[in-house]
Protein backbone atom coordinates (compact mmCIF):
# COMPACT_ATOMS: atom_id res chain seq x y z
CA UNK A 1 0.00 0.00 0.00
CA UNK A 2 1.15 3.50 -0.71
CA UNK A 3 1.78 5.68 2.32
CA UNK A 4 3.11 9.16 2.90
CA UNK A 5 4.76 10.14 6.16
CA UNK A 6 5.51 13.60 7.49
CA UNK A 7 7.41 13.27 10.72
CA UNK A 8 7.39 16.95 11.68
CA UNK A 9 3.99 18.06 13.01
CA UNK A 10 5.27 21.61 13.50
CA UNK A 11 8.18 23.67 12.30
CA UNK A 12 9.12 27.27 12.76
CA UNK A 13 11.42 29.63 10.91
CA UNK A 14 12.46 33.22 11.14
CA UNK A 15 11.56 35.56 8.33
CA UNK A 16 14.18 35.53 5.52
CA UNK A 17 15.64 32.24 6.75
CA UNK A 18 15.45 28.83 5.11
CA UNK A 19 13.43 25.88 6.34
CA UNK A 20 13.17 22.28 5.15
CA UNK A 21 10.06 20.16 5.59
CA UNK A 22 10.49 16.39 5.41
CA UNK A 23 8.40 13.76 3.68
CA UNK A 24 8.93 10.09 3.03
CA UNK A 25 6.71 7.75 1.11
CA UNK A 26 6.36 4.11 0.36
CA UNK A 27 5.35 2.66 -2.98
CA UNK A 28 6.13 -0.19 -5.30
CA UNK A 29 5.23 1.87 -8.36
CA UNK A 30 7.95 3.19 -10.64
CA UNK A 31 5.93 6.02 -12.18
CA UNK A 32 4.28 8.49 -9.84
CA UNK A 33 3.97 12.14 -8.93
CA UNK A 34 4.80 13.84 -5.66
CA UNK A 35 3.41 17.16 -4.47
CA UNK A 36 3.58 19.73 -1.77
CA UNK A 37 0.33 21.51 -1.01
CA UNK A 38 -0.01 24.59 1.15
CA UNK A 39 -3.11 25.25 3.22
CA UNK A 40 -3.24 28.71 4.81
CA UNK A 41 -5.61 29.09 7.77
CA UNK A 42 -9.24 28.84 6.64
CA UNK A 43 -8.24 28.68 3.00
CA UNK A 44 -8.13 26.00 0.39
CA UNK A 45 -5.13 23.86 -0.35
CA UNK A 46 -3.04 25.15 -3.20
CA UNK A 47 -0.37 23.32 -5.10
CA UNK A 48 3.11 24.58 -4.28
CA UNK A 49 5.28 22.26 -6.31
CA UNK A 50 5.20 18.90 -8.05
CA UNK A 51 7.81 16.35 -9.01
CA UNK A 52 7.52 13.58 -11.56
CA UNK A 53 9.33 10.45 -10.41
CA UNK A 54 10.95 9.89 -13.79
CA UNK A 55 12.67 13.27 -13.67
CA UNK A 56 16.05 13.29 -11.99
CA UNK A 57 16.18 17.06 -11.73
CA UNK A 58 14.67 18.50 -8.58
CA UNK A 59 11.69 20.76 -9.17
CA UNK A 60 11.88 24.43 -8.24
CA UNK A 61 9.27 27.17 -8.09
CA UNK A 62 10.75 30.51 -7.12
CA UNK A 63 11.63 30.25 -3.41
CA UNK A 64 10.38 26.66 -3.18
CA UNK A 65 12.48 23.68 -4.16
CA UNK A 66 12.47 19.98 -3.46
CA UNK A 67 15.12 17.42 -2.71
CA UNK A 68 13.83 14.27 -4.36
CA UNK A 69 15.73 11.12 -3.43
CA UNK A 70 13.98 8.32 -5.31
CA UNK A 71 15.99 5.44 -3.92
CA UNK A 72 15.46 6.66 -0.36
CA UNK A 73 11.80 7.52 -1.11
CA UNK A 74 12.31 10.94 0.32
CA UNK A 75 10.82 14.22 -0.88
CA UNK A 76 11.64 17.27 1.20
CA UNK A 77 10.53 20.84 0.59
CA UNK A 78 12.93 23.73 1.05
CA UNK A 79 11.55 27.21 1.48
CA UNK A 80 14.16 29.91 1.03
CA UNK A 81 13.88 33.51 2.18
CA UNK A 82 10.80 32.64 4.25
CA UNK A 83 8.01 35.19 4.34
CA UNK A 84 5.19 35.73 6.83
CA UNK A 85 2.76 34.61 4.14
CA UNK A 86 4.41 31.19 4.04
CA UNK A 87 2.85 30.35 7.40
CA UNK A 88 0.45 27.51 6.70
CA UNK A 89 -0.11 23.79 6.91
CA UNK A 90 1.98 21.96 4.34
CA UNK A 91 0.91 18.58 3.03
CA UNK A 92 3.06 16.15 1.11
CA UNK A 93 1.05 14.03 -1.33
CA UNK A 94 1.51 11.26 -3.85
CA UNK A 95 -0.40 9.83 -6.73
CA UNK A 96 0.09 7.54 -9.65
CA UNK A 97 -0.80 8.83 -13.15
CA UNK A 98 -3.36 6.12 -13.75
CA UNK A 99 -6.99 5.52 -12.99
CA UNK A 100 -8.72 8.12 -10.88
CA UNK A 101 -5.58 9.98 -9.84
CA UNK A 102 -6.56 10.00 -6.18
CA UNK A 103 -4.10 11.76 -3.92
CA UNK A 104 -2.57 10.12 -0.88
CA UNK A 105 -1.61 12.66 1.75
CA UNK A 106 0.67 12.85 4.71
CA UNK A 107 -0.51 14.24 8.05
CA UNK A 108 0.87 17.68 7.38
CA UNK A 109 3.44 20.02 8.92
CA UNK A 110 2.36 23.31 10.43
CA UNK A 111 4.88 26.01 9.58
CA UNK A 112 5.12 29.12 11.68
CA UNK A 113 7.09 32.10 10.44
CA UNK A 114 8.38 34.61 12.99
CA UNK A 115 9.32 38.20 12.14
Amino acid sequence: AQTVTQSQPEMSVQEAETVTLSCTYDTSESDYYLFWYKQPPSRQMILVIRQEAYKQQNATENRFSVNFQKAAKSFSLKISDSQLGDAAMYFCAYRIPLGTDKLIFGTGTRLQVFP
Binding site: V4, F35, Y37, S42, R43, Q44, M45, I46, L47, R50, F91, A93, P97, L98, G99, T100, D101, K102, L103, I104, F105, G106, T107, G108
Partner: protein, 114 residues
Protein backbone atom coordinates in the same frame (compact mmCIF):
# COMPACT_ATOMS: atom_id res chain seq x y z
CA UNK B 1 -9.00 32.89 -11.47
CA UNK B 2 -11.67 30.19 -11.18
CA UNK B 3 -11.97 28.48 -7.82
CA UNK B 4 -13.73 25.50 -6.33
CA UNK B 5 -16.31 26.69 -3.83
CA UNK B 6 -17.99 24.79 -1.01
CA UNK B 7 -21.03 25.48 1.12
CA UNK B 8 -21.62 25.69 3.98
CA UNK B 9 -18.27 26.48 5.57
CA UNK B 10 -19.46 24.92 8.82
CA UNK B 11 -22.31 22.51 9.39
CA UNK B 12 -23.47 21.34 12.79
CA UNK B 13 -25.87 18.42 12.94
CA UNK B 14 -27.28 15.91 15.34
CA UNK B 15 -26.22 12.27 15.18
CA UNK B 16 -28.52 10.32 12.89
CA UNK B 17 -29.44 13.30 10.74
CA UNK B 18 -28.80 13.55 7.02
CA UNK B 19 -26.43 16.21 5.72
CA UNK B 20 -25.63 17.38 2.23
CA UNK B 21 -22.35 19.11 1.55
CA UNK B 22 -22.21 21.17 -1.60
CA UNK B 23 -19.41 21.94 -3.98
CA UNK B 24 -19.21 23.92 -7.19
CA UNK B 25 -16.23 22.65 -9.17
CA UNK B 26 -14.38 24.71 -11.75
CA UNK B 27 -16.59 24.87 -14.81
CA UNK B 28 -14.51 23.05 -17.43
CA UNK B 29 -13.33 20.32 -15.09
CA UNK B 30 -14.36 16.73 -15.64
CA UNK B 31 -13.16 14.84 -12.57
CA UNK B 32 -14.51 15.45 -9.09
CA UNK B 33 -13.37 14.25 -5.71
CA UNK B 34 -14.25 14.31 -2.05
CA UNK B 35 -11.64 14.03 0.67
CA UNK B 36 -11.99 14.33 4.40
CA UNK B 37 -9.70 15.22 7.26
CA UNK B 38 -10.53 14.23 10.80
CA UNK B 39 -8.98 16.73 13.21
CA UNK B 40 -5.30 16.01 13.67
CA UNK B 41 -5.23 13.24 11.09
CA UNK B 42 -4.27 13.02 7.45
CA UNK B 43 -6.41 14.04 4.52
CA UNK B 44 -8.11 10.89 3.21
CA UNK B 45 -9.60 10.14 -0.17
CA UNK B 46 -13.30 9.31 -0.13
CA UNK B 47 -14.54 9.12 -3.69
CA UNK B 48 -13.91 10.17 -7.25
CA UNK B 49 -16.57 10.89 -9.84
CA UNK B 50 -16.35 11.07 -13.58
CA UNK B 51 -18.87 10.96 -16.39
CA UNK B 52 -21.76 10.94 -13.92
CA UNK B 53 -20.64 7.91 -12.02
CA UNK B 54 -18.33 6.92 -9.22
CA UNK B 55 -14.96 5.88 -10.62
CA UNK B 56 -13.35 4.90 -7.33
CA UNK B 57 -14.28 4.93 -3.66
CA UNK B 58 -12.38 4.19 -0.51
CA UNK B 59 -13.41 1.80 2.23
CA UNK B 60 -14.54 4.83 4.23
CA UNK B 61 -17.20 5.55 1.61
CA UNK B 62 -19.81 3.07 2.79
CA UNK B 63 -23.54 2.89 2.12
CA UNK B 64 -24.15 5.94 4.29
CA UNK B 65 -22.40 8.11 1.73
CA UNK B 66 -23.52 9.09 -1.74
CA UNK B 67 -22.47 11.63 -4.32
CA UNK B 68 -24.37 13.35 -7.04
CA UNK B 69 -23.96 15.95 -9.72
CA UNK B 70 -27.58 17.01 -9.91
CA UNK B 71 -27.47 19.91 -12.32
CA UNK B 72 -24.18 19.97 -14.20
CA UNK B 73 -22.60 22.52 -11.89
CA UNK B 74 -22.98 21.32 -8.29
CA UNK B 75 -21.32 18.23 -6.86
CA UNK B 76 -22.78 17.03 -3.60
CA UNK B 77 -21.82 14.62 -0.86
CA UNK B 78 -24.67 13.23 1.19
CA UNK B 79 -24.29 11.44 4.48
CA UNK B 80 -27.56 9.66 5.20
CA UNK B 81 -27.33 9.09 8.94
CA UNK B 82 -24.44 10.92 10.49
CA UNK B 83 -22.30 9.41 13.21
CA UNK B 84 -20.05 11.15 15.71
CA UNK B 85 -17.02 9.86 13.81
CA UNK B 86 -18.15 11.65 10.65
CA UNK B 87 -17.07 14.92 12.27
CA UNK B 88 -14.30 16.15 10.00
CA UNK B 89 -13.31 18.70 7.39
CA UNK B 90 -14.61 17.69 3.98
CA UNK B 91 -12.77 18.91 0.91
CA UNK B 92 -14.06 18.90 -2.62
CA UNK B 93 -11.63 18.92 -5.55
CA UNK B 94 -11.88 18.97 -9.31
CA UNK B 95 -9.58 18.66 -12.25
CA UNK B 96 -9.56 18.77 -16.01
CA UNK B 97 -9.06 15.62 -18.02
CA UNK B 98 -5.64 14.07 -18.42
CA UNK B 99 -3.46 12.50 -15.76
CA UNK B 100 -0.96 15.37 -15.88
CA UNK B 101 -3.48 17.97 -14.71
CA UNK B 102 -3.77 18.69 -11.03
CA UNK B 103 -6.65 18.77 -8.63
CA UNK B 104 -7.90 22.12 -7.38
CA UNK B 105 -9.34 22.10 -3.89
CA UNK B 106 -12.17 23.97 -2.29
CA UNK B 107 -11.85 25.61 1.16
CA UNK B 108 -13.65 22.75 2.88
CA UNK B 109 -16.76 22.27 4.99
CA UNK B 110 -16.30 21.60 8.65
CA UNK B 111 -18.91 19.05 9.74
CA UNK B 112 -19.60 18.72 13.43
CA UNK B 113 -21.84 15.87 14.54
CA UNK B 114 -23.23 16.19 18.07
Amino acid sequence: EPEVTQTPSHQVTQMGQEVILRCVPISNHLYFYWYRQILGQKVEFLVSFYNNEISEKSEIFDDQFSVERPDGSNFTLKIRSTKLEDSAMYFCASKRGGSYNEQFFGPGTRLTVL
